[in-house]
């Protein structure tokens, strides 16, 4: 049955790893830049209209979510998929071609889409800004990925799908559904034959549009920032530590729990808006219920390390992953708290929300992708990781960055929320709006510095990866568990 001549083929996984590093640096670089713009507005004019905050913010979110994170997801899929199905991509010319096409279409599509945002082509719907021609490209990319997933499943040797596979499949389906429905738009040129051919108008109006948008927006977080990252940690943490998942049954149970509950919680973005009251309440209630499956997964990950906590000290990759699950627990607790109506009244529209997003994305998503790619590097190139010390330094620098980020945003958000509602002894508003902006200057500065720390860490990561690829000591065979690293 086995043919020893065949090996896992990491070509596409490697390509996507390079992209993850590239888009990570671009996307978070822009993020740091616009964070400094909030503290020092003169920075807005560095390159004329192209560095205005409002122009760059969508580019930051899209590059990080759909550039960095998706590249990381695809890189790990093309690695983990083969391994847990025990089939090599080299066994099928067709799947290999699909994988490569998937990569190139994605890369070119991503560059064009970012360019279009820079030239002001946007639908304004958050995380769905791309105009309709790019939406079509996105759909094509997604279909290719689907072919790759189900094609590989079709020729697998392992009968049962490992839990990571479940999460990758769910990512595929979830994003497909959400993206299609939220981007329903009518290209105006096709109807009237005049005006800008790229322009389109949403199929939904007003409150309906808002409901569809946040059903999408919230669950894009679910299916890009949560579900596939869980897929990663269920593979990489056991593999790196040599410990099987603490409870496989719990992982199955929390999978179904997460799938079911997550989709209901979108309403918490619309509390006290004009959507029906019952929906706001439902969003709030389900957000709180969401703690259960989220913590189910997170505890399962942490308990996987049971009896082996010594590894935390020795292995920086374990550090990254354990801290990632800890940040996952933090943000899945913070989110529900913000969904409680009275808290939401204070927190909505403030900097606490970006704070919340970033402890999830920097801590959980970023750390997991960094760890996954560094775990794969020695397997890609049959070389040791270039420097353990550098990895350690990166870990501590980035952790400090995240802590600075979310603590300053917590304070900023709550300050802002309290000042908006503060009244004097006669019941008049105590502050004008601009008072609530200028007061945030120190926190904006701190946040930008935190971001800068994290960003610096990315360069250490890229350097370490590059050196691993080119200059590190060769190893004879693929390591089974812990990744070998030079001091």
């Amino acid at each position: 049955m086995q043919n020893p001549a065949i090996e896992y083929d990491y070509t596409v996984a490697k390509w996507f790893s390079y992209l993850a590093i590239l888009f990570g640096i671009i996307g978070m670089g822009i993020g740091v830049w616009i964070a400094f713009e909030l503290a020092f507005p003169e920075l807005n004019y560095v390159a004329g209209q192209y560095t205005l905050f409002s122009r760059l913010r969508p580019i930051h979110t899209n590059t990080v979510a759909f550039g960095f994170t998706l590249s990381g997801i695809f890189a790990t899929w093309y690695y983990v998929g083969q391994r847990v199905l025990k089939v090599s991509m080299a066994e099928s010319k067709f799947l290999m071609a699909v994988g490569k096409l998937h990569f190139w279409l994605y890369f070119i599509g991503a560059l064009l889409a970012v360019g279009s945002l820079l030239l002001r082509y946007t639908t304004s719907k958050e995380y769905a800004q791309f105009e309709w021609p790019f939406d079509i490209v996105v759909v094509l990319i997604w279909v290719l990925w689907g072919i790759s997933i189900f094609g590989l499943i079709g020729i697998r040797r392992e009968k049962t799908l490992y839990i990571s596979m479940w999460y990758y499949i769910a990512t595929f389906l979830g994003v497909a559904m959400l993206y299609l429905f939220n981007n329903m738009e009518v290209p105006t040129y096709l109807i009237t034959g005049m005006g800008d051919p790229f322009h389109s108008v949403s199929m939904y109006a007003g409150t309906n549009d808002a409901m569809v948008q946040w059903w999408y927006g919230h669950n894009a977080v679910a299916f890009v920032f949560t579900v596939p990252i869980i897929a990663m940690i269920y593979y990489y943490l056991p593999k790196e530590s040599g410990q099987p998942v603490y409870s496989y049954k719990l992982s199955l149970l929390s999978f179904w729990g997460l799938m079911f509950v997550y989709l209901w919680a979108g309403g918490h973005h619309l509390i006290y808006s004009t959507v029906p009251d019952w929906m706001q309440t439902m969003g709030s209630v389900f957000s709180v219920i969401l703690i259960l499956p989220s913590w189910g997964s997170a505890l399962n990950m942490l308990l996987t390390m049971k009896g082996e906590w010594g590894q935390l000290k020795e292995n920086p990759l374990i550090k990254f992953m354990v801290l990632a699950s800890t940040f996952y627990m933090l943000s899945t607790l913070e989110g529900p708290i913000q969904s409680i109506k009275s808290v939401n009244a204070l927190a909505h529209f403030t900097d606490w929300i970006p704070g919340h997003v970033h402890d999830g994305t920097l801590g959980w998503v970023g750390f997991m992708i960094i760890a996954a790619i560094m775990h794969m590097a020695p397997r890609f190139y049959k070389r040791e990781i270039y420097s353990k010390k550098l990895l350690e330094m990166q870990f501590w620098l980035q952790t400090t960055g995240i802590v600075l980020y979310f603590s300053s945003m917590w304070i900023a958000g709550i300050t802002q929320g309290m000042m908006w509602r503060a009244v004097d002894q006669y019941g008049n508003l105590a502050y004008s709006f601009i008072d609530t902006v200028t007061v945030l200057h120190p926190y904006y500065t701190l946040r930008a510095i935190g971001g800068l720390f994290y960003f610096t860490g990315l360069f250490m990561w890229a350097y370490n990866f590059y050196k691993t690829m080119t200059a590190s000591k060769a190893i004879e065979k693929e390591p089974q568990f812990a990744s070998p690293m030079a001091a």
């Binding site: 896992y8 025990k86 040797r157 392992e158 990571s164 099987p244 496989y248 049954k249 149970l253």
Partner: protein, 68 residues
């Protein structure tokens, strides 16, 4: 009939149904393991022992023999 009423009844029904499904699933997980029909925890090995040359935890061909 009022849409709110339908929604309310459907919602209640759904909750009851899902509670049954959830507990049914938990019972299924533990019972099938107790009876020795399947061992879920062995699937955890799929991540650890994932060389192309290592034997699958459950090969495709032998499926019929195993699950009966």
């Amino acid at each position: 009939m009022d849409i709110r009423l339908i929604q309310g009844v459907a919602y209640l029904g759904l909750i009851i149904f899902l509670t049954f499904v959830l507990y049914g699933y938990i019972m299924h997980l533990y019972r099938s393991e107790k009876k020795g029909k399947r061992n879920y925890e062995k699937y955890g090995k799929m991540a650890l022992d994932d060389e192309l040359t290592s034997p699958p935890v459950e090969p495709l061909e032998e499926h019929t023999k195993e699950s009966r």
